[in-house]
Subunit: 375 residues, 4 copies
């Protein structure tokens, strides 16, 4: 899910998810990170999940991570997340058990878990909009139990898991669960990044950096990274930004105009989620350009149609669909993309409380993504 | 240019237009509708235009019309329009004289005048974004003298005029200067109208009706017209709307939900230009849909990214490029489109003051487009 | 499947289909049209199909039809069809029974059966190329038993059946199983038919007429139908062709040049499947145009790259994916498309041998599609 | 223009080019490479060109090169090239003089000369198909005098020249006249190369290598280069090919199957122009893939529609439009593309006969592109 700096209040109805059977409390136990209301989380014992539907798989977690959205949940911003919920929607693991209708995965398979669950047969899945799957969408660690646990139940496993090729670096592939498809689909694809074009990315946090890494698939001439934190801009340079602007020190609009002969950028990617940064994108985009929103917004923004009505622009929004997971996997295998760049810290899964603490102070800790390993 | 109900204040720099020679005051005279500051217009004598650049043509006007934008100018909303300017950016005529570099038109040719002047060689023209032509764009009746006159000078004639085929109904083709390409390009093409889709058009004025007529090129299953005026909705029905909603009497959001199984529309076309109607479009659009803005906005609007961030939508803006003029002409010739439906009133060109009076009271007069004939 | 006039010999490996359980010979019986080797077919008793996989549905046939491909099979042109196979891949019916993993359909539902079976989870299904589904594709009446029977087993029912809305004309919807998606996807969509464009369709048989009907969704200026049979051309005119050419009497190339100012057509749709008609398309297509092949070819053709290399054209091929079935259903419901135009003859299902006889002499019988009703 | 190994016989009418004034024989002289019928060329004195139309520019050549098409002309394969014609359609130079209607260039400007002349106002130019410009297209060194001379007249200069930015390596930019846009537009863009995809390029000559260089803009996972010459394959590896196949030693079809899990390639680029290599592409392309033809073909080829009809493929052809020249220039400036890799030999312009000799024995000389400098 997308990173953000503000509370989100989803007022449109979220896709309905009905668990068709009660979770079986009898049987084996496992450890998991459990949400207990705003501000409260515990690493505690929970029942090990079991197959509930024929299309389910149970996956033993090998590696997982923490997302900015998990921090939102912990602040209490997402009321749909109820007490007792196991958090987490990213990870790689090993298939432990499958329902009778799962045909593409079997016990022992190493898999990437997609943050989005796709039934593969609803009207949205048929359009490639898995994010709006009427039977799934983003439900892991949200409407059903998630991946920050020793085991997780994955509904519609055939459409929601991806095989890990032999001899892969599995840690790196955790980045394919959410952050890389999010940066790529919401930022780069929606933003129509093209060879020779000029791109501005507003926000050099993990999600902005994911957009930066994947924007380079299309060889834009310039990628201008804008952020108020010099450390993050330094990272952006190492990741391939051709220009950086610290907008706490410099006027980003003026600087972008200088860099673009006064025209603005072909693509402005919003990777923060607040009115100020979305407003900045409106000032940066050239006639005929695109503003691709990735940020999770908690408030409405002011849209300057009094100037933009005549500028032939597009503004796009998107909840990641993870339709590009296989494609991204090929770019990793062929070394066009190194997801490992995003990983800064590593912990045992049982030390997840400590990992949250680091991730919550990301700027101070210079943290991007933390890896949690279930030994 | 687009129709609107509110003042516009263009704060981005308009394309620079330099007249390379002074208009020649010596010589023949003609009559024209001249702007003399907010609220003041006169049908008066002016010098007949002459070729100033090799790429100019002088066109004798046969038929012209009045646009909602002309009303804005008369209110004083467009400060770029200076006193003494001849208004009008639509019309058909006969070529009277051509500059030495004009090769595709000659004296006597019957032509459609595009509301947008295109040089054919700048970076925007090469992209098909004639609206942002660095040497042209919308300049007629705006930055240079326009078509509500007996004669008009057309810069870059080879790229800005279109041949009228023999035996055409020339009156109908006045609608190809601006209103039909605007409805089609900004509303229908940007809105990605497709067979079987559901479209809502907010605003059943001339521009909304132009979108309605041209949306039918793509055979959408439903076109829902929304407007507070029953007369206009009645017209919309005759023009092919499958549903109409009077949003002064009914809750348009509720009604659209009923008509779309609670999902919303694939395409919402904004054809008014005020915050309320743009806001309505945000409530109507389905996940994965498009809001295509046609309206000229005078104020910023509130964009509900706090819900829309995750809805996989696109919002598009566009000043008409008139790249589809030739294509629209083919649809008229093959009787897929009847532009005449938009014409409700006819006057002599010399009665243009009377025509403005009718057009300014369009609702009362049941006026859509008025035709002015230069006998 | 596509219509054709010549033998086909598929030399690329067909998608592998493994039946995981033996068909259950014990139990109820039904009547079906069974292939018994080249030239031999019988309406005979067969075991009623049963659910073999969790994702299967058993459908009672209400209406079915005969396809040109069925005639090929009967000639022995498709060796993959083995003796004892029940033919047919089109039809509407009522769900009789469903496997445990079928969630979107239940006993009593009225359904359209797609000619293409889609698993919804393989790499091709995820790309919308159901025709190449690694677990399905065109298997009905080909690699597994088909729809010319009282009952049929449909694998992957959730992805391969479509709900029939209440109060629909079910007979008309038989045309959505194969012929209309084939004409639309292979001819119209691949051919990029656009408003104002010029289209030639070579072959005015059922499939060419299906392309003709659905091409009109996009309001081309001209649709030129070419065929050696005057009756079929007369039908084409009634279906919306703007021009017809009997190419047994006239030089089609010369006539198309006259109609297109010597330029050729934007889209040439091949709807026969022999070298001569594909050759004709190469002579008709304008620079920048598309040749969209629908015909099933039994031989290689000569491609004139010595002239076409510089003509900026595209040639497309496609086995129908039936990705547009839902969309086509909406156009039928909204009366943009009347599939019934294609139906010329009606029989009882038990009279299918007689129906084949008529369909085999389609030209003489003026037959397009025949409907078989299972009372 | 495209490289090829076989005679070409254009049987479709070439775009008509009318020189409106006789070339002025009076006045200054210059040296040029002149065609004197099959097999004969001379470096001789010719009149220096003068402005003939208001839209012309006279350009002093700084650097030019030789194209495979020039060799075809010298063989007598292009009868449209008449005796006395100055050859050459590539080069960079300095504007010497401009017609009165040229507004974007002035004496002293350093420019890239496009191999395709575009009027900017015909129906094809408006579609971005400059190759089929009714007033231009490929005429330089073909229907009018070309660039292998001290001076050249460029019609429609505003649309056919490109400004060279300060401090550019002008030699490298000669590659933007033809070979790089050809490889990119005909091979890479038409071939829809995408991140993670698999590409095969058949032919590792200059044009295949140009496709190889520009295909990398889109980060395909694999680029497989196929050629019978080990030297050329070695060059391909240095240029970024991930796999090479010497198809004089190995079965390319088998090897590609091994490399692609038996599926074939997403994009097969034909960069030779003979039936055998086009045939190979047909065997390599995966279902859903594209064959993008670049090669200039002198004969028809056999198209295996008996298998390909059902494979959902596209075959594209294209004469380069040079619509991407500006974009390619940006990729050069931003160091995403190094055109200099293609340059292997350098001569004085006055030594052009020697340069032809080397280029005609390209394999032996290990020559790709030769640069000719006019001191």
């Amino acid at each position: 899910m997308n990173s953000t700096a503000t509370p989100i209040k989803i007022t449109k109805p979220v896709p309905v998810f009905k668990e068709t059977k009660q979770e079986n409390g009898i049987g084996k136990k496992m450890k998991a990170l459990v949400y207990h209301g705003a501000g409260k989380k515990l690493w505690e014992e929970k029942p090990k999940p079991v197959v509930q539907n024929d299309t389910d798989a149970i996956v033993k977690i090998i590696k997982t991570t923490i997302c900015g959205t998990d921090l939102h949940i912990l602040k209490g911003d997402l009321p749909a997340v109820t007490e007792g919920r196991i958090l987490g929607h990213e990870g790689v693991g090993i298939v432990e058990e499958t329902g009778s209708a799962v045909t593409d995965f079997k016990k022992g398979d190493h898999v990437i878990i997609s943050c989005v669950t796709s039934c593969g047969k609803c009207v949205y899945c048929k359009r490639g909009m898995y994010s709006h799957c009427v039977n799934g969408g983003w439900i892991l660690g949200h409407l059903i139990d998630g991946t920050q646990a020793e085991y997780v139940r994955i509904p519609y496993a055939d459409n929601s898991l991806y095989h890990i090729p032999d001899r892969s670096d599995e840690e790196a592939l955790v980045m394919l669960s959410d952050i890389l498809p999010t940066g790529f689909e919401c930022g780069v694809l929606n933003g129509k990044v093209q060879p020779g074009n000029t791109v501005a990315i507003v926000g050099s946090g993990p999600i902005g950096l994911a957009a930066l890494l994947t924007a380079q698939f299309y060889s834009p001439a310039e990628i201008i990274m804008i952020d108020p934190d010099d450390n993050r801009l330094e990272t952006a340079k190492q990741f391939g930004a051709t220009q950086t602007i610290n907008n706490s020190k410099k006027n980003a609009i003026e600087r972008v105009k200088e860099l673009t002969d006064g025209i603005g950028v072909d693509t402005a990617i919003e990777a923060v989620g607040i009115p100020a940064t979305f407003g900045l994108c409106q000032s940066l985009v050239a006639p005929g350009g695109v503003i691709a929103n990735i940020g999770v917004h908690g408030k409405s923004v002011e849209l300057h149609l009094e100037t933009l009505w005549s500028q032939n622009i597009a503004i796009t929004t998107r909840l990641v669909d993870t339709v590009t997971t296989s494609m991204l996997l090929k770019t990793v295998q062929s070394k066009k993309l190194d997801p490992k760049l995003l990983i800064t810290h590593r912990f045992k899964l049982s030390d997840i409380i400590k990992a949250y603490d680091v991730f919550q102070h990301a700027a101070k800790e210079k943290a991007l993504k933390v890896i949690l390993t279930n030994d």
